[in-house]
Amino acid sequence: MGGQVISFRVDGRSVAPPYLQIVQQVKQALRMGVLDVGDKLPTVREVVAATAINPNTVLKAYRDLERDGLVEARAGHGTFVRHRPPGPPPGTHSRLGRSLARWVAEARAAGLDDESMESLLRVALRAETEEEIA
C-alpha cells in the first residue's frame, strides 16, 4: 500500500485488547520518531485488510488518540498526526534502550533468567511509585 508509514500488528493472545494495542503502537511510533507531526495514519480499511480485525476497533483506537489530542481526523482526507505525546526527546529511548541492553547482558551473565529480571523490574517500578506517593 503506497505511502503507508506505519503497519500495525495485533496479537490475539495479548492481554491488551486490540484497540489498545493500536493506540500503544501509534504512541510508540511517535515516541521513536517513526511517526511525525503531519503524517497520515493508515485508513481504517487499510488496517482492517492487513490485520483482519473489526473496523470499529480501529475507529475506537483513532477516536481515543483524537481525544488525547495526538491526532485529528479531517473529513474526506484521513487521520493525521497533530502532536507528539509528552515525553522525552527522541534520542532518549535509544540511549536508555542501549543501557538497558547492557544491564540485561550483565544480569544474564550473573545467572538471572527472564522471569527474575522481570520481577526485579516490577519491584523497582513499584518502589519508585511508593516513593512518589510517600
Binding site: 490475539g12 480499511r45 482492517v48 480485525i53
Partner: protein
Amino acid sequence: MIEVQAVPEAAAAIRTSGLGKRYRRVCALSDCTITVPEGRISALIGPNGAGKTTLLRLLAGLTRPTNGELTVNGGIPRQEPAFLASIGFLAQEIPLYRRLSAEDHIGAGAHLNPRWDGESVRERLTALTIPLDRAVGTLSGGQRSQVALALTLAKRPRLLLLDEPVAALDPLARRNFLAILADAVAAGGLTVVLSSHLVADAERVCDHIIMLAASRVQLCGDIEELLAEHQLLVGPRKDTSAIERDHRVVQVTRTPRQVTMFVRRCGPVIDPAFQASDVSLEEVVLAYMGQDAPPARAQLNSIGDNQ
C-alpha cells in the same frame, strides 16, 4: 432472563422474538430472541446441534419458523427478488458450478442480480492471485471460499449470513477470508453474522456475539460490553447468597476451601473477600456452554452443595 441490549427500532439489521423451529419431533431452535444492530460483525457461536444453521436459514428465509417472529433488514424474510438481493447466504457446501470458471460465475451474477459489481470480484480475486479463468472445481477449498464470498459481496447485500465459512480453511486462508469480510464491513452498509466453532476468530474480527446452546440463546450482545459485565470471582468458601442475589451467577465451583464464581454483574461487586478478575471471550463462552439447561438458580446451587 436473557438481557438483550435495547436498540432503536431503525438500526437493527436483525430482530427476532420467541423464534422457534421444530422438525417433526425434534426442536431445532426454541424461544430465540435476539437483536443484531446494523454494521456489526456478529459471531454465532455454539456446539454442533445447537441450532446455528437453523437460525441462519430462518434469517435467510430458506425455511419458515414454527413459532415466533423475525424481521431482517426491516422486513420479513420471503422468497422474492428484493429480499434475496438484500441478503447474502454462504452455506458450508459452497454452491459453485465446478465446471464453470470464476469469470463464468461473474457473468451469471450479472444476469441474475438487480445490483451487481462484477469488477469488485475481479479485483478481490486478482489481489489474492486466484485465477479467474480456471474451472472452480480445480481450485483449493480456501480459494473456492474466496470466490463464493466475492460473488456474494458483489451483489451488495445489506446482511451477510455465513455458515461455518472458515471451518475447513488453513490459517492463512482463514485470515485472508476474515480480512476481506472486515474490509467489506468497513466500506459501509453491511452487517455480518458468521457461525463458527473458533472463539479466537470471533474475538478478533467480531464485535457482537450470539451464543446458542441446547437450541436456546444464552447470550446476545456487543462483545465489549459483555466482557465488561462478566467477571471471575475467587474467594474463600463462605456464604455467597448475597452475591447470588445481586448478580447473575453463571457458573459456580466449590472446593472445601475455595469458591469460584463466574458472574454477570449488575453493578459493582462489593465484597472484599473476593478477588475479581477480567475474563476473556473464550472463558465467557465456555462458562455458558457448560450449562446443560437454561440457567436456573436452584440448579446451580445444588452443583456446589453436592461436593
